[in-house]
């Protein structure tokens, strides 16, 4: 065996198992969903036939789908931007030394540690207009989850609470990798905090920020548990997001074909958003390698 061949082997040996594993197990459901999206599959009506692009044509004209898309986009925009700003602020704070830092770091992560269905149930309990603690503390009687103007925002707040620690953790680890010497040198040169942040921290942190953005966006666009528990998509479908709609189609009305098409559409939506980040991330990685 030549050295080059062995090298090749070990390279793909390193990569192979992971790819095969994910490909093998994750590929099947995805292909199945794609396949179903091209079918008209309604077990109740006894229908199971190929339908080409019929589902997608219907989707383009489906007002409920576009509403769901709008709600999802709004949700993603607001929650991800809030999470990022908050997460960055917290990570920067936690990066500095102060007494009790270790404990503070652990405590800030508590929301992430709570199972999401449980967290959703708890926010439902908190938002209750009658005996919820939020109204009690604020002295108001706002109908948080039942008023179309507030419901989606209530969900966004709960999501921000739950997932900001994820962003904090990623950013904190990223901050750790930035060498202390850079800061020292810059400070010697007379740089102030803002300049340190803008010229050292931000550029070096950019890849991790983009990574956090990517994963948070992917997850926020597919939000399900939270909305389902808090509002069920209501009132009057005003908080229905894409995945909630897909779930109802698939599991409540047994419209397997169209439901799969909506799931695929959700994937395409997430893909489009991700591609934007990926380009930025690719560029950031390239400059980093130099």
């Amino acid at each position: 065996m030549s050295a080059a061949f062995r090298e090749r082997l070990s390279r793909y040996g390193l990569l192979g198992p992971a790819v095969l594993f994910v490909g093998g197990v994750a590929l099947m459901p995805v292909l199945y969903t794609l396949w179903l999206g091209f079918r008209r599959q309604l077990p109740i009506f006894g229908i199971s036939r190929f339908a080409g692009l019929e589902n997608y044509r219907f989707l383009l004209a489906d007002a409920r789908f576009w509403n769901a898309l709008a709600h999802t986009a709004y949700f993603v925009l607001l929650s991800v931007s809030l999470e990022l700003t908050l997460g960055l602020a917290i990570a920067l704070l936690l990066n500095q030394s102060f007494p009790g830092r270790g404990l503070a770091r652990a405590l800030v992560f508590v929301p992430w540690a709570v199972p999401s269905v449980v967290a959703a149930r708890f926010w439902e309990w908190i938002y209750n207009s009658d005996y919820g603690v939020l109204n009690y503390v604020l002295g108001t009687r706002v109908n948080w989850l039942g008023d179309p103007r507030w419901a989606l925002h209530a969900a966004i707040l709960a999501d921000v609470w739950k997932t900001t620690p994820f962003v904090v953790l990623l950013l904190l680890a990223g901050l750790q990798v930035i060498p202390e010497d850079l800061y020292r040198a810059a400070r010697i040169d007379g740089a102030g905090s803002w300049q340190l942040f803008r010229h050292i921290t931000l550029p070096l942190l950019l890849p991790v920020i983009l990574l956090a953005l990517l994963f948070r966006t992917m997850d926020a666009a597919r939000v399900f548990d939270l909305i389902f528990v808090l509002t069920g998509g209501g009132p009057a479908n005003q908080t229905e997001t894409l995945v909630v709609y897909a779930y109802k189609l698939l599991y409540r009305t047994l419209q397997f074909g169209y439901g799969s098409a909506v799931a695929v559409a959700t994937f395409l939506f997430v893909l489009t958003l991700s591609l934007a980040y990926l380009r930025l991330l690719g560029r950031a990685w390239q400059t980093h390698g130099e």
Binding site: P29, T33, W123, V177, V243, S260, W285
Partner: protein, 261 residues
């Protein structure tokens, strides 16, 4: 800082308070704090048949998910980060795409697959499902952290005649330790808290995990808020403990060592 902490902890503290309120007072506000806090909900939860088994299942599933994610992900991330492989973008991209599908669409065919393979109602099925969906995230993040490691170190190791595994062990892993710990923590918590697959792929206490068990607390119309609160507090504790234990690792400035070395 204080503001942020209270925001982060507020709902959780409220959860704790609810868990300590006697049954009759659960839906009453005031009082904010129970005059006579009770441990009845915690006792009910811990004493429930199968609770410890479920907790053990959660532990096994989460640990093995992390293990699998690392065993498969670390070498792969190393390869993607340091060895200029053709099709690197394609691989990363495809893996990412696969994990972009809404889980609810994946769960039915995956369940079908597991039924056919005869591993229905087993922790193995849940571990596999969790690993598959944790891997792309782990891979991406690890690749990113490995990229941070200066290429010179890598090249130096190669010149010294180290094999890839050797470099991994001696150079990459120590330097990327903060990233590794972060990823491990996040994957553990993801698996510990994951609900959809855990619920769909399990049928009895033999394989059920905590989130699925908590979902079983409610009756047809009745929702025992007290018990749910207690169970959630209990379910959250291990993750918090892990955080406490490992947060120092994330912090250690091991990069200083890299510059010296």
């Amino acid at each position: 800082m204080g503001l942020m902490l209270s925001f982060a902890l507020g709902p959780f503290v409220w959860e704790l308070i609810t868990a300590l309120k006697p049954e009759g007072q659960l839906a009453q506000l005031p009082p904010l704090f129970p005059a006579r806090p009770t441990a009845e909900h915690f006792i009910a939860v811990l004493g429930a048949p199968g609770f410890l088994r479920v907790a053990l299942n959660s532990l096994v599933v989460a640990s093995f998910t992390v293990l699998l994610a690392f065993v498969l992900g670390v070498p792969a991330a190393y390869a993607l980060a340091k060895l200029n492989l053709r099709g690197r973008q394609v691989i990363l991209g495809t893996l990412l795409c696969l994990s972009m599908f809404p889980a609810i669409a994946n769960v039915a065919p995956l369940y079908l697959l597991f039924i056919r393979l005869g591993v229905r109602d087993s922790v193995l099925a849940v571990i596999v499902a969790h690993s598959v969906f944790a891997l792309p995230f782990a891979l991406w993040t690890l690749t990113n952290f490995f990229q941070e490691i200066p290429d010179d170190l890598y090249r130096a190791g190669r010149i010294d005649g180290c094999s890839h595994l050797g470099i991994l062990r001696h150079v990459v892993l120590p330097l990327a330790a903060p990233g590794l710990v972060s990823v491990g923590l996040l994957v553990f918590i993801f698996s510990w808290n994951e609900f959809l697959y855990a619920f769909t792929l399990t049928a009895t206490e033999r394989s059920r995990t905590l989130p699925a068990a908590i979902a079983l607390f409610a009756g047809l119309h009745e929702i025992p808020w007290g018990e749910i609160a207690a169970a959630s507090v209990l379910a959250t504790l291990p993750s918090v403990l892990l955080m406490l234990l490992f947060q120092r690792r994330i912090i250690s400035g091991l990069t200083a060592g890299a510059v010296k070395g």
